[in-house]
Subunit: 342 residues, 2 copies
DNA sequence: ATTCATATCGAAAACGTTTTCGATTTAACG
DNA sequence: CGTTAAATCGAAAACGTTTTCGATATGAAT
């Protein structure tokens, strides 16, 4: 084992624990001579500060928590990567928990993180979350919180988002510009803000271009683990319900890929018969055929940005400075590929 | 804030801290009456034990570390999911770090985890790791360690693996059985055990079926972030070098998908001209065209199994029982799809 | 020699919990 | 009533660190 403590260093040098501690942290009231001596023997004995004791004393763990709906997910794993990268640079480690799109789980995971006393929490909401008391509680307990992607507008904290509405507008507009007259929408669940915003962007694009909005063209997906199957099912239903659809704007790539798969099976040609635009730009979308036109959503940057905001908040809180919450909006862009005519 | 401590409960009830602590943990030497009283006021004051103090006292953090080469990766994210799921059930949280396939990073991350004093470590080696001193050090420090997927045979710890050699043999054999006579192999880097084993399985299948082994048919990929591009490049080179190849066994799906993309671009028909078998069964492989024949590698189960082994080791160490390292081998299976003839 | 400033150190409290062990009370029994 | 056993509690040490604050020593200035 490695139970080398300050005490041991102190004893071997016959000085006090306090001096050893201060020497290691370069306090000004320790002579250069003893500093050198202490650092040398610390190195020699392979001293590593006991994180538990440091945590207890300093009241911080240099650890943050991350709650996301799903780990096996191209977008979210990109976010994770961004967060970890940035956090490491600042000396923070990241505990990752998964809500599996369930509100109950989300609450439980939050409690777990709180009981571990993480220094801050990053999260993207579960689809099932409609009540935000658990988040308000967090904030009233003064635990730094930053939400990203799937946020609640009503919760008072920093956020990192994209302009889902505008991106959806762009996507739908592109379908219109490429000649689509009758455009369906596979939307996400009813609750999450970004699913709502994407729907609104779709609707706005239609009305701005004098295309009547037809609710029967809007299909709902849970966008959970069954995304791919939902894409297939909705594509199938769409064909049964309507024979004049020539374009679909789909809430997320995985669903879009399910739809493409089903259309392919049935013999519907993309983009000749139906054009499709997805959302998120999963890597997969660039290698299926036809390659999928989609909205690129910068997951890695979102993760980095989210940590940056959290870090700032943690720092300001430590220094007892006033906190101002910020909402950072990241750029998206339309990636034109082969699932649409141009 | 929430600075409710044992002391506060003790003061409100006018009893000692020791009794409060013991009451909360159902020690036998506390009367039922006071137990009830303590639990009630603890509930009332919303008492949460201070993890830092508990850690310091008990010398454990109920946290484990996980080091993987890459987060944005279908297989590894499945593993993460399995680990988190299992760990949570046993009350452990998971800190995730990424080595980015670099040996230096891997060492650094290991140090970070050690300095946080995690109760155990799960890891899959970076491609760049040839030296195992850092792992041996871990073991000599008695830190529980379980390796999975990309392991080092020589390191003395528990492991969770698949039989890469046999799986590769099966994959290659399938190519042979479907009529391929001249089979190339896109292998992984030279160091990792599983890359070696897959190569050996390929070779064995050839020799068992009287097909001469031709080293010029073996191409190397780094299998890092450029996997997809490497697949394209190698596919291109392969066609320049040889005009008689009719099958390829490829170290990992992402490279295989790159190869398919390139063949598609050039006009080589799959599987008519060349059959392809990948490895890992990324989700993507089931939706590209042609769908990719591959070896299914159970990431989620591997994660679960790895945590189970780690948990056992942690427990036995706490009870000072002898530790016996185990190697668990998980089943793989050949997924027959459209990139091969049958 | 006295005063003052500066440099250097250490004692000790504190963080909040767990656990040992001794003290006290209560009940039980002859 | 005295003795013993069982039940119930609390004092205190310990985990290892950080930090305040006072103590001492050294040197310079008067």
């Amino acid at each position: 084992m490695n139970p080398v403590t300050l005490k041991q260093i102190a004893e071997t040098l016959d000085i006090s624990i306090a001096t050893v501690s201060k020497a290691l942290k370069d306090y000004p009231d320790v002579s250069k001579k003893t500093k050198l001596l202490v650092k040398e023997t610390a190195e020699l004995l392979n001293y590593k500060p006991n994180a538990f004791a440091v945590n207890l004393r300093t009241k911080e763990s240099k650890t943050i928590g991350l709650i996301i709906p799903e780990v096996v997910h191209h977008f979210f794993s990109s976010v994770i990567k961004g967060i970890i990268a940035r956090a490491e640079k600042k000396g923070y480690l990241v505990i990752i928990l998964q809500s599996s799109e369930s509100y109950e789980m989300e609450k439980k995971q939050l409690d777990l993180l709180l009981s571990k006393r993480v220094d801050g929490i990053l999260m993207s909401l579960a689809n099932g979350t409609a009540n935000f008391k658990h988040l308000d509680d967090l904030i009233s307990q003064e635990v730094p919180l930053v939400m990203f992607d799937k946020i609640a507008k009503i919760v008072n904290c920093s956020k990192v988002i994209i302009n889902d509405r505008m991106a959806a507008y762009t996507a739908t507009k592109y379908l219109i510009d490429s000649g689509c007259k009758r455009i369906a929408h596979f939307r996400g669940p009813l609750l999450p803000q970004n699913s709502i915003d994407r729907f609104l962007g779709y609707k706005k694009a239609l009305s701005d271009n004098n295309i009547p909005y037809d609710p029967s063209l809007v299909y709902i997906c849970e966008c959970g683990e069954r995304s791919f199957e939902e894409g297939k099912e909705n594509a199938h239903k769409l064909l049964e319900d309507h024979n004049d659809v020539d374009g679909i704007f789909i809430n997320t790539d995985l669903v879009a890929i399910g739809a493409i798969t089903e259309f392919h099976r049935i013999g519907v040609k993309i983009p000749e018969d139906i054009s499709i635009v997805g959302f998120s730009n999963w890597f997969m979308s660039s290698v299926i055929s036809p390659t999928l036109t989609t909205i690129d959503q910068p997951g890695y940057e979102m993760g980095k940005e989210a940590f940056k905001l959290l870090y700032k908040e943690i720092k300001r809180r430590k220094e007892n400075l006033p906190i101002k919450f910020k909402t950072v909006e990241l750029e998206t862009k339309l990636i034109k590929r082969a699932s649409t005519r141009n």
